[in-house]
């Protein structure tokens, strides 16, 4: 049922009947609103508009986004993703439209990191080479410092006279000599010698 029409108040005014013809004012308003939506989609939203138009525009934007048609362009999408990733690794977000891909940035920086590290190693090596002592430090132990049991020496005091009936017991005598020399050798090793 047609009632009083208020084309300037499309949100709160009376709703025209479905079969009613659109008035010239309505057509003009629709055209204006369509232009407004086109501009908004093109990124040229007018700085000022009526509250009703702004509300309608927001509704239209939401409907468009919900319908899945509000996809970003490839370049825009890539720049946003790169910016987010850059922030994630601690870098600054790149300004829109001037994004350097992370892989490319790393490829640019890696050789210089390698070169810097190599230079540091080279510098350290040269410093060590220059600073190395030129002398061999020899810690001399005077012969008197060696105890008798650390020396290679005749086995006579250890074995003593060999009785005739034990003349063939060389194996037992050698066991005695070996055990004695092993003791001395171990002591010598423990004190940091041979």
């Amino acid at each position: 049922m047609a009632t009083k029409r208020d084309d300037d108040d499309i949100l709160t005014g009376t709703i025209p009947a479905p079969e009613d013809e659109a008035t010239p004012a309505e057509r003009a308003h629709a055209k204006t609103f369509a232009d407004l939506i086109d501009k908004t989609l093109a990124g040229r939203t007018p700085p000022a508009m009526s509250a009703d138009d702004r509300a309608l525009l927001e509704v239209a934007t939401v409907i468009r986004a919900a319908s899945g048609n509000a996809e970003l362009g490839d370049a825009k999408r890539r720049s946003l993703v790169e910016g987010a990733l850059r922030q994630a690794i601690g870098g600054k977000a790149a300004p829109t439209g001037d994004v350097t891909p992370i892989a490319k940035a790393r490829a640019k920086r890696a050789p210089w990191i390698v070169a810097g590290a190599s230079l540091a190693v080279a510098a350290a090596a040269i410093l060590l080479w220059l600073g190395a002592p030129r002398r061999v430090h020899v810690i001399d132990h005077a012969p008197a410092a060696l105890q008798d049991n650390w020396k290679s020496r005749p086995a006579d005091p250890l074995i003593g006279p060999i009785a005739r009936d034990h003349a063939g017991d060389a194996s037992a005598r050698l066991d005695t000599i070996f055990a004695d020399r092993l003791d001395g050798y171990r002591e010598l090793r423990m004190r940091g010698g041979h």
Binding site: V136, H141, P154, A170, I177
Partner: protein
């Protein structure tokens, strides 16, 4: 890129030069190593290895002897004579002379008296007197005794005379052995 390559090469060369210097740790090579010197008569690893090998050959010979395989025992004892000891190690001479004494006794048991005498004389050629050379003289006396006994079995008259000579030689050898033993014991008592 060339700059980077050059830098890496320089770094590697510098590291290599440091490695080279550390490898050349000989006196006078400009290295910075510390050597602990020891007198040449200190017991070292070479001596211990040689003694250990000699010990093993003796034990091996004992096993062969217990099996009655005297030929293998003789071969094992001969190995001791060819062991390489550190130069001027007194133990080397002692161990070899003791092995010679055993070897000569084994050869006497096999009837190889001349070979046994050669082995003993080889040991007695060493300059230093020791209880081991005294033992060699004892074995030498035993060889003379064995020769005398062999000559006693002969019917030839000249062999009887030779047997007497061998017995005299045996007595001289035993006396030499006793003389060395006494001399060394006196020296040891004086040192104490």
């Amino acid at each position: 890129m060339k700059l980077i390559t050059f830098t890496v090469v320089v770094a590697l060369a510098a590291c290599a030069s440091c490695t080279d210097r550390s490898d050349k740790s000989e006196p006078g090579a400009g290295s910075s190593v510390t050597h602990v010197t020891e007198p040449g008569d200190a017991i070292d690893q070479k001596l211990m290895v040689a003694l250990s090998q000699a010990k093993n050959f003796h034990h091996k010979a004992k096993v062969y002897m217990s099996d009655g395989d005297t030929a293998a025992a003789i071969a094992s004892v001969r190995e001791i004579l060819s062991l390489r000891f550190p130069p001027n190690a007194p133990e080397a001479e002692d161990v070899r002379n003791d092995a010679r004494a055993l070897l000569a006794r084994l050869l006497v048991g096999q009837g190889q008296l001349d070979e046994a005498m050669n082995v003993v004389k080889e040991g007695l050629g060493s300059s230093r007197e020791s209880f081991f050379t005294a033992n060699l003289y004892t074995v030498k006396g035993e060889i003379h005794e064995a020769r005398a006994q062999a000559l006693d079995k002969s019917d030839v008259a000249t062999d009887k005379a030779k047997a007497v000579e061998e017995r005299h030689a045996a007595i001289e050898s035993f006396d030499a052995s006793n003389k060395i033993d006494k001399k060394l014991q006196d020296q040891l008592l004086e040192q104490r």
